[in-house]
Each structure stands twice: as structure tokens, then as C-alpha cells.
């Protein structure tokens, strides 16, 4: 073989902290553009906040008796008058966790099925950035969803948000690490297991039963309450109800915020560790390229 060409030895890539951030930004932008190009999200955004809580609200209305006589029981158990807002917030947080499990949980799996996961994995970008990057647009779309939900609750169900918007946002901020940490761990497990519907159903079932999305956990049997205390969604739901529906202010949610901070550290770390475990395992087994 004879060649007079000078062989290349170095690529144009110049890795540094900024280029790493730019790569993370590129993943976010890509995910956001793809999200916008499937227009059905627009319909879900307006329909789901109404449909899902509606059946619970109607059931509650039926069970509250003539002239809402049973509401005194509800007031005694929750300290709140507005059962509609109570149910709407519980079901919305449930939907948030559910959507995160499906969207973040299946983000890597969808890339794998599409065939693009390998081409991302072949680049020198920090691999956790793919998961982190796909989480950010999802979070943005969820904030849109939560905003639309709040507006629709007021307009359709007549919910009166008497609490503080800023405290509600503070609780949401404190909730993000737990909700997304679980999603990240889940995404890594889905890549390994290839299928995880059963796990999604289990997690959302646990949240639905133990975290009191439509009822106070004080009415649960004694053996169920300790389980509820180990699920971050219990505190998220309680704190958002307190922050947005009551005027009790910061003292009413301080305890929840502290616990959510601890849960957040745990779930984000757990999500990161599971991702690293999956990444190492995939290099041994070739799981990234398997459909």
C-alpha cells in the first residue's frame, strides 16, 4: 500500500466543561423539538387535567350525601373544606409521577428501539447527560401541564386556591429530585429488562393506594400508614394541598420540605447509581444494541 496523504491523527472535538454543557443543552433541545413535532401532546394537555379527577370528584359528591352533609367528616379528617381541590391536586401529582415513569422511564428504551441510542453512546459525551437532558424538556412540559391543570380546576371545578403560589412552587421544586430520581432509576432498569409495564403499574398503584390521592392517609388501616410514610409522593401531595389550598403558610409545610429534601438526595443518587450500573453492565452484555 502506498499513500502520499498525511494520515489524520486528531479530531476537531475540543472537550471542556463548556462543551459538556453545550452537549447537555443539545440533548434538551433535541428532545424538546421532537416533543413539539408530535402534536397529540396538545390535546392531552387540556383533556387529562379534567378527565382524570372528574370521576373521583363525582364519586365524592355522590358519597357526601344530600347538601354535602358528609363533608363535615372530610373537614374533620383533612382540615380542608374544598374536597374538589383536594382530589384534583392528589390526582394531578399521581399523573405527574405516572407521566415521568412513562416518559423518562422509557426515554432510553425508545432511543434503543429507534436505533439512535447507539449513535449517542458512541459520542464522547457524558452518558448521564442523555437522561438528564431528556428530563429537562419533560419537566418543562409538566410545568405547562400543571399550570393548565390549575387554570382548569378554577374554571371547571371552581377550586379556590387560597394558599400561596410561591410556596406551591417551592414544594414543586423540592419534589422534583424525588420524582425524577425514580424516573432515572426506572429508565436504566427498562434498558436492562426491555419491558417494564408491570413495574409502572406497580409503582403507580402504590402511589394511588398509599399516598392518599383522593383521601387522607389517616383513614388507612394501621398497617398501611407506615408504608405511606416511606413514599415521597405522600409528602408532595400533602405539602401542595397545604401550600395551595390553605392559608397556613410555610410552617405547615416545613416538615414535608425537609423530608422531601432527604428523599430527593436519596432518589437522585439512587437514579445515578443505577444508571452507572446499567451502563457498565451494557458494555459487558451488549444490551445497548439489543432491541
Amino acid at each position: 500500500m502506498t499513500t502520499q496523504t498525511i494520515a489524520l491523527t486528531r479530531s476537531l472535538g475540543r472537550p471542556n466543561f463548556l462543551s459538556g454543557l453545550r452537549a447537555l443543552g443539545a440533548v434538551m433541545k433535541r428532545e424538546w423539538m421532537i416533543f413539539l413535532r408530535y402534536p397529540s401532546w396538545f390535546i392531552s394537555l387540556f383533556i387529562w387535567p379534567i378527565i382524570f379527577p372528574l370521576s373521583y370528584i363525582i364519586t365524592a359528591r355522590a358519597l357526601s350525601g344530600r347538601d354535602g352533609i358528609g363533608m363535615t367528616q372530610f373537614l374533620a379528617a383533612t382540615g380542608l373544606h374544598d374536597y374538589t381541590g383536594y382530589i384534583a391536586i392528589g390526582t394531578t401529582i399521581w399523573m405527574w409521577q405516572n407521566v415521568v415513569l412513562w416518559n423518562i422511564g422509557f426515554s432510553l428504551r425508545n432511543e434503543q428501539l429507534r436505533g439512535t441510542l447507539e449513535s449517542n453512546w458512541l459520542s464522547p459525551t457524558w452518558r448521564f447527560a442523555y437522561l438528564l437532558g431528556s428530563g429537562a424538556p419533560q419537566l418543562l412540559s409538566m410545568l405547562m401541564f400543571l399550570t393548565v391543570s390549575a387554570v382548569e380546576f378554577v374554571l371547571v371545578f371552581g377550586v379556590q386556591f387560597q394558599g400561596s403560589l410561591w410556596l406551591t412552587l417551592l414544594v414543586l421544586l423540592a419534589a422534583i429530585p424525588s420524582v425524577y430520581g425514580l424516573g432515572f432509576a426506572f429508565a436504566s432498569l427498562v434498558i436492562t429488562a426491555k419491558e417494564a409495564n408491570a413495574f409502572v403499574f406497580l409503582v403507580r398503584g402504590l402511589v394511588m393506594i398509599f399516598c392518599g390521592i383522593t383521601y387522607p392517609i389517616s383513614i388507612l388501616p394501621d398497617w398501611m400508614r407506615p408504608i405511606a410514610n416511606w413514599l415521597p409522593q405522600t409528602y408532595i401531595i400533602h405539602a401542595i394541598r397545604s401550600a395551595s389550598l390553605s392559608t397556613a403558610g410555610l410552617p405547615a409545610i416545613t416538615g414535608d420540605l425537609k423530608i422531601l429534601a432527604l428523599f430527593g438526595i436519596f432518589w437522585l443518587s439512587f437514579g445515578y447509581l443505577v444508571f452507572n450500573w446499567m451502563e457498565r453492565r451494557a458494555r459487558r452484555t451488549g444490551a445497548i444494541g439489543q432491541y
Binding site: 494520515a7 491523527t9 472537550p15 443539545a26 433541545k29 449513535s119 464522547p124
Partner: protein
């Protein structure tokens, strides 16, 4: 900087075999596999291992096009996946651009441009330009250079008119050009091209072959796998033939063909082929490596065989195929091609 662009020493990759596959090769290795841990209710079966790559040695020089050929399941994809850090070898070592594939995986990725899954490796819901801008960021190309590079590649791939359309509206050939552009973005010293012309129409495939030849001129080292022998013959400086996880031959295309220079290739075209004929032909003295394949959907078969001496074999061949509804349509004695070398070495055609 090391002398070789890619150097692999005794690369081995074993996977756990799926139970019930009846894989004899895998089963034969079970005795050597590590025992699985004990459980309270009894001992688990020893894990059965399947060896996909079994001690591959490769030395690819800088600036050369190296063709890696092998039938399906021979181990070429696993080898490529180890070299581009998607897989970790079970044992052995490899260096890409002087970087260890396990210990310096990120440096290896920075040195490589890869076309692995072709059109599936890019986002169909993004435009061609958006795809390239996205991957330029992933490869940490400075923004100003990236913009120039994306424009340059779009121009070079003749996609300027369609660059802002979604990839889902592209033809297969156009998608493949975006996938190749993605590999070229960072102008990496080494390119791994896995079946770059698969599924392309003849014109698009020719354009890709021309491009590969140009890339060599520009100083890229290219590791190419292909199912098309003519392509490997035309483009490769050297070819490695891999079968059952081992490199069984490595030489220039001419060097490989010289190995069976003393043999003649008899090519028949006939109708009314039946399996008994294969046994009859194989029993003729001096005939070996018989392969057949049906041409299109008509009852027309191409039969190739290697002969020590075609003059002595031909009368017996003609005699064997007469009668029983078989009709000889065409017959040629041809020079050995790379495909014949492959059949000679592996006992099967590349498409098998």
C-alpha cells in the same frame, strides 16, 4: 503516536448463551464457564457461554482502508462493537488511535467516526441540518467550527436543497448520507463503516463508494465491513476474513486471490435444479466448494464450483446434469474472485 491506527491483540468476547438454543458451540464451552453461585435450595446450572470473538489479532495501518469480511454471525459486528467501546472484551486488548478501548474509552470515541446502524442511527423527526448540529455538539466541536463543518458536509453530500426538511421525508440514500456526515463531523482520524451501502440503490451505493475512496485520500483510516465482495475488492487495501470468531485470512485482495490461483472456477446456469445433483457434482474428482443460488424467482440457478482441472472435470459435469429435467443454459470458466476465495476459506458464500 503509535504506528497503527487500530491494533487488537487476542480479543475475545463471550456472551451467556440463551437457554434452549441448542448451540453446540456454546454447550461445548459450558465446562470451561465459571460456575454460578450457590443458592439455598440447590446449585444453579453452570452458565453456558457463547464465544462470538475468539482471539482476534488485527493491525490496521494509518491511512489504509481495511475490509473486514465474514458471513453472518462470524463475529465481525462484535469485533467492531468492541473497537468502538460499545462492548468490553472478555479478554485481550485493543488500541484505537493509541488509546486503550477499556481504560481510555472516551479518547477512543473522540478518535472515531462510526456508521453502525445506517439510516436508523439518526433522528427522523429532526431535519438533516438539526441532526448534524446535534451530533456536532455531542462530539464537542467548537460552535463556530461546527457551523462551518455542517454547511460543508451538507454541500458535499448534495443535500443543500433538502437540509431543512425532516429526515423522515428523505430517501434511504439521503438518510445514509446524513449518517455518514454524522461520522465525518469531527473529522475523526478513524472511520468505522459497518455495511455503509446496505439497502442503497446502485447509484447511491456507487456514490458512497466514491466517497469512501475520497476519504482515504483525505487521510482517514477506514475499517469497512460489507456483504458486497466487489465493494471490498474495489476499496480495500487489505482484507481480513473472519469466521467463527477468528481471523482466518488477512492479505491484500490480490494476495488473497493468488491463494487459489491454481484453481479454476466453473460457473453454470441451469434450470431444473434438484438437490441430488449437488451430491453427484461433488463426487466428481477435483471438484470442491460447490455453491448454488437461485436467480430471481424464475427456475434459473447459478452453480459455482472450484476445480483443479476444468478440462478433465467438464465432460463429467455435463454428463451429470443431463436428464431428469435439468437443462444447461450457460457455462463459463472464470478467474477466481474474492467471493471464490471466501468460499474456499469458509466453505460458504458471504450471503449465507
Amino acid at each position: 503516536m503509535t504506528e497503527f491506527a487500530i491494533e487488537a491483540k487476542q480479543l475475545v468476547k463471550k456472551f451467556p448463551a440463551r437457554p434452549g438454543t441448542g448451540d453446540k458451540k456454546a454447550e461445548s464451552e459450558s465446562s470451561r464457564a465459571p460456575k454460578r453461585r450457590r443458592f439455598p435450595f440447590g446449585k444453579k446450572e453452570p452458565k453456558t457461554m457463547f464465544t462470538a470473538v475468539n482471539g482476534v489479532d488485527l493491525q490496521i495501518e494509518r491511512g489504509e482502508i481495511f475490509g473486514l469480511l465474514g458471513p453472518n454471525g462470524a463475529g465481525k459486528s462484535t469485533t467492531i462493537r468492541m473497537l468502538c467501546t460499545l462492548l468490553e472484551p472478555t479478554s485481550g486488548t485493543a488500541q484505537v488511535n493509541g488509546f486503550d478501548i477499556v481504560k481510555q474509552a472516551n479518547d477512543v470515541r473522540r478518535s472515531l467516526g462510526t456508521v453502525l446502524a445506517g439510516e436508523r442511527s439518526i433522528y427522523w423527526k429532526l431535519t438533516g441540518r438539526e441532526n448534524l448540529e446535534y451530533f456536532a455538539a455531542l462530539y464537542h466541536i467548537p460552535q463556530a467550527i461546527a457551523k462551518k463543518r455542517v454547511d460543508e458536509l451538507i454541500e458535499r453530500m448534495e443535500l443543500k436543497e433538502r437540509a431543512n426538511e425532516l429526515v423522515e421525508k428523505y430517501s434511504t440514500g439521503m438518510r445514509q448520507r446524513i449518517a455518514i456526515s454524522k461520522a465525518l463531523l469531527a473529522r475523526p482520524p478513524i472511520l468505522l463503516l459497518d455495511e455503509p451501502t446496505l439497502g442503497l440503490d446502485p447509484q447511491a451505493a456507487r456514490r458512497v463508494r466514491e466517497l469512501i475512496a475520497e476519504l482515504k485520500q483525505e487521510g482517514h483510516t477506514i475499517l469497512l465491513t460489507t456483504h458486497y465482495m466487489e465493494e471490498a475488492d474495489l476499496l480495500s487495501d487489505r482484507i481480513g476474513i473472519i469466521d467463527t470468531g477468528k481471523v482466518i485470512a488477512l492479505d491484500t485482495p490480490e494476495g488473497l486471490k493468488r491463494r487459489i490461483d491454481q484453481k479454476e472456477i466453473i460457473r453454470l446456469e441451469l434450470t431444473g435444479w434438484h438437490d441430488d445433483l449437488a451430491d453427484k457434482l461433488k463426487s466428481i474428482a477435483g471438484i470442491e466448494n460447490l455453491t448454488t443460488h437461485q436467480q430471481g424467482e424464475a427456475d434459473l440457478w447459478e452453480v459455482n464450483m472450484h476445480a483443479q482441472n476444468s478440462r478433465t472435470a467438464l465432460p463429467r459435469i455435463v454428463e451429470s446434469i443431463s436428464g431428469n429435467g435439468t437443462r444447461l443454459v450457460n457455462m463459463n470458466i472464470v478467474k477466481p474472485s474474492l467471493e471464490d476465495v471466501f468460499i474456499h476459506l469458509t466453505g460458504k458464500a458471504l450471503r449465507d
